[in-house]
């Protein structure tokens, strides 16, 4: 049962990572990402939260998960 939760979490993380790559200019640097509190992914997550007027924590929360699943314009929110 925990395995299934873990799989779902990894799926969400990949979705968020791809969202940050597509619309916030996030570049993967190859090392494990999300738990580094001041890593690039945390920074980009903060930018996204700021853009959408969410609470800026740098952490993946339900607000972020909800947003990345919505239809949207394919153009980035942050100019590359």
């Amino acid at each position: 049962y925990p395995v299934e939760t873990r799989q779902k979490k990894v799926g969400s993380m990949q979705l968020i990572q791809r969202y940050l790559e597509n619309y916030y200019g996030f570049k993967k640097d190859g090392e494990s990402l999300i738990w580094k509190s001041n890593g690039p992914m945390t920074q980009k997550t903060k930018e996204m939260q700021e853009f959408f007027g969410l609470e800026v924590t740098g952490k993946v929360d339900s607000g972020i998960l909800d947003l990345v699943q919505k239809r949207r314009c394919g153009f980035p929110d942050i100019a590359g």
Binding site: F51, F52, R71, R72, C73, G74, A79
Partner: protein, 380 residues
């Protein structure tokens, strides 16, 4: 609102657009209507005008594609990214791409084409994403009432920051909610679109639309769209006079001929072709013909008809000959008598405007099929 870096924008006010291909989700007429309506959202609050092209290059090329489609931003299947568009500029600048994997609709079900197109054309004109969740330029798609005016004040502030406000009362939907003091206006009173005695100086087809000329203005109407745009002639063609006499289009040449007095101009889109105006006699008329009342080009025959008083001449493009002598209008078009103000062809019907009447003439049956009001084609 925000703009792109270095604020790219169009330096001209009349822009062309072309729908390169169509989604099978909607009838082409509905796609045409949704795109035209989406562009009108922006032209109604700026001096910008949009002219539809059916072939060749255009400022805003509109296309539907799935997945990778020859640019650096492949689409991602259903959901997610639904469309994108490029900032003003050459080549693919201004172009708008729509993800064919979406279910495009004209309702609140699926993905509403009009609403998404209006957002993408904001990019085509130079606006970037807005952080205001109620703005059209907010990047996330949300279900809205497609019949409501979609621009938020944030969007209007943004587009008018780039292009200034609309110069045309009729076209500025927001402004039209203001009650203006009529004594303030310097222009003669605008024609009453729905008045019973409305007459036209000339009527012609024009790249899939119909143009109704009256004094300094013309109405532009797409047969499949209820609304009509109302523009100054000079905003499209600054060199043309007001109060024209006649006009006709030759679709296969993408040329429209416009007459006033003993001169005529040929335009293609918003450009008056070089070498015009020319004199009427260069068309083959005798020098004592100083004006024509109306004209139209019969696309089925390849013949152009010129009407003067109760007679007409015709020019056959195949034999490249003009009638030596005029014929009586009533002999060739039974039921149509006397002077004609304007005439145009739509499908297999000719529409003759005579004073306060509009006659619908069936070109196959060679007879008048309906007597209509002159404002029949306008949203009254």
């Amino acid at each position: 609102f925000s703009t792109f870096a270095r604020e790219p924008k169009w330096t001209k006010q009349v822009l062309t657009y072309r729908i390169v291909n169509y989604t099978p989700d909607l009838p082409p007429a509905d796609v045409n209507a949704a795109i035209k309506k989406a562009l009108t959202v922006w032209s109604s609050v700026t001096p910008l005008k949009f002219i539809k092209k059916d072939r060749g290059d255009a400022d805003i090329m509109i296309s539907f594609a799935a997945g990778g489609h020859n640019d650096f931003i492949p689409f991602d299947g259903p959901g997610g990214s639904v469309a994108h568009a490029y900032a003003p500029g050459k080549d693919f600048g201004g172009d708008a791409h729509f993800d064919e994997d979406e279910a495009w609709t004209k309702s609140t079900e699926g993905t509403n084409l009009f609403y998404v197109a209006a957002h993408e054309f904001g990019h085509s004109l130079g606006l970037f994403h807005s952080r205001n969740p109620n703005a059209l330029m907010y990047p996330v798609y949300r279900k809205v009432d497609p019949s409501a005016f979609p621009l938020h004040q944030d969007d209007i502030n943004g587009i008018q920051y780039l292009y200034g406000p609309s110069s045309n009362i009729h076209n500025d939907q927001r402004e039209s909610t203001e009650i203006k003091d009529p004594t303030e206006s310097k222009d003669p009173a605008l024609p009453n679109t729905c008045g019973p005695n409305l007459t036209f100086d000339a009527v012609t087809t024009f790249r899939g639309e119909i143009m109704f000329f009256k004094d300094k203005h013309f109405w532009r109407k797409h047969p499949a769209v209820r609304n009509a745009d109302f523009n100054l002639i000079s905003s499209f063609w600054p060199r043309l006079p007001s109060g024209v006499d006649a006009a006709y289009e030759i679709p296969e040449k993408d040329e429209t001929v416009i007459f006033k007095g003993n001169e005529f101009w040929v335009v293609r889109g918003d450009a008056v072709l070089p070498g015009y105006p020319q004199k009427l006699y260069t068309l083959g008329f005798s020098k004592d013909v100083t004006k024509i009342d109306a004209a139209f080009y019969n696309v089925n025959e390849g013949k152009t008809y010129y009407f003067i008083a109760d007679k007409f001449w015709s020019y056959d493009k195949r034999s490249q000959t003009m009638d030596r002598k005029p014929m009586l209008i009533r002999d060739a078009f039974p039921g149509i008598n006397g002077k004609i103000d304007a005439v145009f062809q739509h499908e297999n019907f000719f529409y003759f405007f005579c004073g306060g009447k509009l006659f619908e003439f069936d070109s196959d049956k060679k007879r008048v099929t309906r007597l209509l009001k002159t404002n029949f084609w306008l949203p009254c």
